[in-house]
């Protein structure tokens, strides 16, 4: 077993275990914390795959932004120490069935399929400059249009969030 | 522009005029002016038509106007009239004219009421003059839909229920009609060439037999619903009972005729072979309707219900006559439509006026009205006598033509149904006289009724114009009958040509 494999196994173990804990924990703040671990471990996977920039984004936006936002909202809407109501069997059983069934089908499909993996050419680190170029490029493999769309989306989301969060005058 | 287009333009202009009115009085007078103009237009049309025919114009339809308005589906605004349509237009304009006066005392929302009423009438006129199946269907819907609002808003009793029931059942019929019409359109060129909605063109073709057998029941039932064919008639009693006076008049007097006319003009005319093959089923239903409606009316206590069932009986006779497939009976069918249209409009007008005074429609609560409102009572007796087929009124002419025509079919089946249908005239006499006896004659049962007043001037205009209508047709039917016969030529020839294909 190579170090790589070991690292992957560790990361994926963290991800899976804390994912499960995220969706089952009955203390909501803890759940958010577990989610944080999951996201950090995912960032580790990105490092492993040599997407350093992506990993950085994952850490800054997800971990630094989204999770903090979630935790804030938790603090706004719940009392610390409150235990969440346990879901009833009527919810759990179908959910487990569906999830297991879906996982099985997907896994069978995925494992049966022979992906034409390219030969991996060592450690090619993606250059930030290259990323930036293609992000604003209008050529082939350029992403300026999605980039603009996302910008507008974010702007809209910002406006929307402000409007929604604003207190009503009445 | 053909004179026929005026029949659509005048109501629309009237509606525009109504929208500009300030007071209720203005609304009424604009409506009267518009519909009076329409009435004059109808009379002019009849005279022009007769003049043309006398001058030897033997075209199948006159006053044709044809504009393409949707090229992709080859839909035209194609209007034209033959003797039958002219007669129906005359009926409609008379009933609408009387209906305006009969709704003089409508409660509120005058502007809206008259707008819908006139919109409805323009739909009816459009239906009768259309020669394009699609445009015809368009106008048909235009005539049916305002009914919902008219009953739902201005009605009485369980008006929402009735309006809903009526509209849903008629819409059900419309759905069948639409299927049937599309079916006809798709098969309208069996020998190649562009598909068409044009009735005249389609009537020159023979549609494939298996399609005909499929389409004929669709169309006949679809139009039959509006023509109050047994067992699809139950919207009629409830709907009429809840509808305001003018709406009942228009509905029973004109709108139900759309059903009969559609059966005649579309179902039988375009699909004659299928009509010959499966017509007997509907003939049985129509015969049941005739006798069943009459017996149904015998037991009712509400004036409007009595009249609604009587309409079922009389309209059953229309379908009955159409299904006899010969010129005389069909002539009778058309005359019965006109006669019943005027007569039943008269009935509903009178019932509305009586109800407006006594505030009840139950015959047992009234009595001896002859003494307090002689004008209305005499008019009611006249309407009753016309309804039971007294010579001198239109009903007699129509019924006798139907029976003589029906008797020309010599086989035992047709004989039996004819005799059964003819026996309805006795039952009709019974229920009419029962009502007249209880309602108008005898002693006044309620002292409050001593104070009631007789008809006002607008009531009188409405009633007298309708009575004149039935009397003129009843005394001198020849011109009308000949005019209709002229229009029936093509259909009778088609039916004769189709007859040898009978099994």
């Amino acid at each position: 077993m190579t170090t790589n494999q070991l690292m992957f196994i560790i990361f994926s173990a963290i991800i899976i275990i804390f994912s499960v804990m995220t969706v089952t924990s009955r203390r909501i703040l803890r759940a958010a914390t577990y989610l944080l671990f999951v996201l950090v471990a995912t960032a580790g996977l990105y490092f492993l795959l040599q997407f350093n920039f992506l990993a950085a984004i994952q850490l800054t936006i997800y971990v630094g932004g989204i999770v903090v936002l979630i935790i804030f909202s938790i603090l706004l809407t719940s009392h610390i120490g409150d235990r969440l109501e346990a879901p009833g069997w009527k919810k759990i059983v179908p959910a487990i069935l569906v999830a297991t069934f879906g996982a099985v089908i997907t896994l069978i499909t995925v494992l049966q399929f022979d992906f034409p993996t390219k030969a991996i050419t060592g450690s090619e680190r993606t250059d930030i400059r290259e990323i930036a170029k293609s992000l604003v490029s209008t050529e082939k493999f350029g992403y300026s249009l999605p980039f603009e769309v996302i910008s507008i989306l974010l702007l809209a989301a910002m406006v929307g969030a402000i409007i929604l969060a604003k207190k009503r005058e009445d | 522009m053909s004179i026929l287009t005026l029949f659509i333009i005048i109501p629309l202009l009237t509606i525009v005029g109504i929208l500009f009115c300030k007071t209720d009085m203005q609304v009424k007078w604009v409506s009267v002016a518009g519909m009076g103009l329409q009435f004059i237009n109808a009379i002019a049309l009849i005279l022009l038509f007769l003049a043309e025919r006398r001058a030897g114009n033997i075209a199948e339809v006159l006053f044709v106007q044809d504009n393409l308005w949707y090229e992709t589906l080859n839909i035209h605004f194609h209007v034209g009239v033959d003797g039958v349509s002219v007669a129906m237009i005359g009926l409609t304009s008379l009933v609408v004219f009387a209906g305006i006066f009969a709704s003089w005392e409508i409660k509120d929302l005058h502007r809206e009421f008259f707008t819908f009423l006139i919109l409805l009438s323009s739909g009816v006129f459009g239906f009768f003059i259309s020669l394009d199946l699609f445009t015809m269907f368009l106008f048909y819907e235009l005539a049916v839909i305002p009914m919902y609002l008219l009953i739902g808003i201005w009605g009485s009793g369980p008006r929402h229920y009735s309006a809903m029931k009526l509209t849903l059942m008629l819409m059900g019929g419309s759905a069948l009609i639409m299927l049937g019409l599309i079916g006809i359109y798709l098969n309208s060129a069996p020998n190649g060439g562009p598909l068409t909605w044009d009735i005249i063109k389609i009537s020159k073709e023979t549609l494939p037999m298996d399609m005909q057998r499929f389409l004929f029941p669709l169309l006949f039932v679809g139009f039959g619903v509006l023509g109050a064919m047994f067992p699809f008639h139950t919207w009629s009693p409830d709907g009429h009972a809840s509808a305001p006076t003018a709406v009942s008049m228009l509905h029973a007097g004109v709108l139900m005729k759309l059903g009969g006319y559609g059966c005649y003009r579309v179902a039988v005319f375009l699909l004659p072979q299928a009509a010959h093959q499966v017509g007997w089923i509907f003939l049985i239903l129509a015969t049941i309707g005739v006798i069943y409606g009459a017996f149904g009316a015998l037991w009712q206590k509400d004036l409007k219900y009595i009249n609604a069932y009587s309409s079922v009986s009389h309209c059953g006779l229309v379908l009955f006559a159409i299904l006899m497939f010969n010129q005389t009976a069909m002539n009778g069918a058309i005359m019965q439509m006109i006669s019943h249209g005027i007569m039943t409009a008269l009935f509903f007008a009178l019932i509305g006026m009586i109800y407006g005074r006594t505030h009840t429609r139950y015959i047992n609560e009234m009595g001896g009205l002859m003494k307090v409102m002689p004008f209305l009572s005499v008019a009611y007796v006249i309407a009753g006598l016309a309804s039971l087929g007294l010579p001198g009124f239109s009903g007699f002419v129509a019924e006798m033509t139907i029976f003589v025509g029906a008797f020309q079919n010599a086989d035992i089946f047709h004989r039996v149904v004819t005799i059964i249908a003819a026996s309805s005239i006795v039952v009709t006499a019974v229920y009419i006289l029962r009502v007249v006896g209880i309602l108008l004659l005898g002693k006044i049962r309620n002292d409050e009724y001593e104070q009631l007043t007789d008809a006002k001037w607008y009531d009188k205009i409405s009633v007298v114009s309708l009575i004149l209508g039935i009397t003129i047709i009843g005394v001198a039917p020849l011109w009308l009958s000949d005019m209709i016969t002229g229009g029936l030529g093509p259909i009778v020839q088609k039916l004769l040509a189709a007859a040898p294909m009978m099994p």
């Binding site: - | 029931k165 015998l298 037991w299 005389t328 010579p391 001198g392 006896g437 020849l478």
Partner: protein, 641 residues
């Protein structure tokens, strides 16, 4: 050839009068309506007399000496099929001309009489308007050129009769009676209509001249056996006779006539004694050649029905107390006699004696029966009661009425030389040649007739003295003058040599008085009178004893043999309760229920389905994901082609 087209005015004038009086009558004093109506009818009467004179005496005859049968006026009214069309016109032949005389004369008398009788009644001008309408309809009926025109006017007389019977519309019994009269005759008319339809279908024409002419299509067509062993033609004639029987109140359709007496008495005299009720007889006479040659079975039915009705009604008449009802039953009986006369008749010459006699009797009967009714009206007018128990000893108070009533009674009883004697004698003579049984039946009828008429006469004018609220006094001149004129007719009408004018083949022949029949008939009549005198001249208890002695039979007769009850049972119980009510129920609950059920099912289904939209986000998600997975399973693994 004389121009008879002016006869159209005989039709047009009354309808014109009807419209004028009906629309404008209320604007003027009531008496104006009466005068306008009467004078109008006077003109019509004159026209009819002129027509009759010109027809019988001036107009040239056909080559064989028979009276002509022709259309004085005819116009197309409605086209039906290629062959069939309804015309409106005036047909002149001996019977229609004779009927013109009868109708206009009686109608004129009744008009005149009504001015006095109806004086001060509410609706005076309405009454005269309706009388004009009736005159129009009846005249149109008799001059009809085709059977459909006859049907048209047949219906119109029915409705005029309805309106006149129900003249006192606030009286419930009058309303009920008018309704009954209309519906019963309407039912009969349905038969008439079916008969017409069959006849016209077979022969292809409505026209009387064609139908009854020597080359009539009725002779050849429709002779095949059709139903129950009878030919189409026979059936159609039976149906037509059904119409006639209804209008003429033959058994079993007679029930409306006694009730119709609820109408004003002049109406009873005009419509229900002299004119409308004989329309059935006239109808059979009009189609007589068809009956004789093409449908003898139907003619037999006419004979049997006529004979039975005459004896049946005569028996009932003996037991009734309402004088107008007695007269009504007497009318039924006499019309039965006329029908019998037609039924036994043959065609042509002496064979057609019954036909001639029947028409003769119709003619004379019109006079004396109208006279009886008008007399009864005068009596009722005087004592304000219809019941003979309330009357008695009136011969001093009402001298003119008494005299004229007596003449009428003698005439109907068949005492020579009054009108009834001659005509009845001819019918009996014709009957004796055909069927001895029925001859004797009719003999008994004439005895009974004499009996009940004089029962009436004696109980009204003689018998016990009554105490009246106010002394009865003679009616005014407008009422007594018509009585006297009609009495004159009843006296003299029999002396007309009728066989010179009206015969089955329109050829005059000479009829002799058959002493072998006349003498027994007169004797029977006199016996009846004597018995009646014995019973009723002085107040005795003999009638009661006889009545009791006959037991249940007389009870049944008194209750009109329970025919009314039977009808009531059929109409009220069966038609109303067992047909109409279930139909109404069926409609509301089954047919409409099906429609409502459809709506209910739709509604219910949508209600159920809408519960699926629970608003539970996770439930939606569950369904969505399961669905997506199932689709994957389906398309990736299970449905791999």
């Amino acid at each position: 050839m004389i121009d008879f087209s002016y006869t159209a005015w005989i039709l047009l004038l009354p309808i014109f009068l009807f419209i004028v009086i009906g629309l404008l009558g209320n604007r003027f004093k009531p008496i104006v309506s009466g005068i306008v109506g009467t004078s109008g009818l006077f003109i019509i009467w004159l026209l009819s007399l002129v027509t009759a004179y010109k027809y019988f005496f001036v107009l040239e005859k056909a080559a064989d000496g028979s009276f002509l049968k022709f259309m004085a006026f005819n116009m197309r009214w409605l086209n039906l099929t290629d062959k069939l069309h309804i015309d409106m016109g005036v047909l002149l032949d001996p019977i229609s001309v004779m009927m013109l005389i009868v109708i206009t004369t009686v109608s004129l008398m009744v008009h005149l009489y009504s001015i006095g009788y109806m004086h001060g009644e509410k609706g005076f001008s309405r009454f005269f308007a309706l009388l004009s309408l009736f005159s129009f309809s009846m005249l149109g009926l008799v001059v009809a050129t085709n059977i459909f025109q006859m049907y048209v006017f047949w219906e119109l007389v029915g409705v005029s009769s309805y309106l006149l019977i129900g003249f006192y519309y606030t009286k419930d019994s009058a309303v009920a009676a008018s309704k009954k009269a209309f519906i019963v005759t309407r039912f009969a008319d349905l038969g008439f209509l079916i008969g017409i339809l069959m006849l016209s279908y077979v022969t292809g024409t409505f026209d009387f001249i064609t139908l009854t002419g020597p080359d009539s299509p009725a002779l050849t067509s429709g002779q095949g056996v059709w139903f129950l062993g009878l030919s189409t033609m026979t059936w159609s004639m039976i149906f037509v006779f059904m119409g006639g029987a209804g209008k003429s109140a033959m058994f079993p359709l007679h029930i409306w006539l006694p009730d119709a007496m609820e109408g004003p008495t002049p109406v009873s005299a005009l419509i229900h004694a002299a004119t409308m009720v004989v329309a059935g007889v006239y109808l059979v006479a009009r189609l007589f050649p068809i009956y004789v040659f093409s449908a003898p079975v139907a003619l037999d039915i006419v004979m049997w029905v006529g004979a039975f009705s005459s004896i049946f009604a005569a028996i009932i008449a003996c037991t009734q107390y309402d004088i107008k009802r007695v007269l009504a039953y007497s009318t039924i009986s006499q019309i039965g006699l006329m029908m019998f006369g037609l039924g036994v008749s043959g065609y042509g010459g002496h064979e057609g004696l019954g036909y001639m006699a029947s028409m003769f009797h119709l003619f004379t009967h019109a006079f004396f029966k109208a006279l009886l009714f008008l007399g009864a009206g005068a009596i009722i007018h005087a004592v304000h009661s219809n019941y003979m128990n309330d009357m008695g000893g009136l011969h001093k108070n009402l001298p003119i009425t008494h005299a004229t009533f007596l003449i009428a009674c003698l005439a109907i009883a068949g005492v020579p030389p009054l009108a009834g004697f001659f005509s009845k004698d001819e019918i009996l003579a014709a009957g004796s040649e055909r069927s001895l049984l029925l001859y004797w039946v009719e003999m008994i009828v004439s005895g009974l007739t004499a009996f009940y008429m004089f029962r009436l006469y004696f109980s009204i004018f003689w018998g016990k003295k009554q105490e009246y609220h106010q002394t009865p006094h003679e009616a005014p001149k407008t009422m007594t003058i018509p009585l006297m004129i009609l009495a004159l007719g009843a006296l003299l009408a029999g002396l007309i040599p009728f066989s010179n004018f009206v015969t089955s083949d329109r050829l005059p022949f000479v009829s002799h008085l058959d002493m072998g029949i006349a003498i027994p008939a007169v004797l029977v009549g006199l016996t009846g009178i004597v018995v009646a005198a014995f019973f009723y001249l002085k107040e005795t208890d003999i009638p009661d004893k006889v009545f009791k002695a006959l037991g249940s039979f007389s009870q049944a007769a008194f209750h009109k043999f329970y025919i009314d009850e039977l009808y009531l049972f059929i109409t009220k119980k069966i038609i109303f309760n067992y047909i109409s009510r279930p139909v109404a129920w069926f409609d509301r609950h089954i047919v409409d229920g099906a429609m409502n059920g459809l709506a209910y099912i739709t509604n219910e289904t949508s209600d159920r389905i809408k519960k699926l939209q629970s608003g539970q986000l996770q439930q939606y998600a569950l369904v969505f994901i399961s669905g997506a997975l199932l689709l994957v399973l389906l398309f990736v693994y299970l449905w791999t082609s």
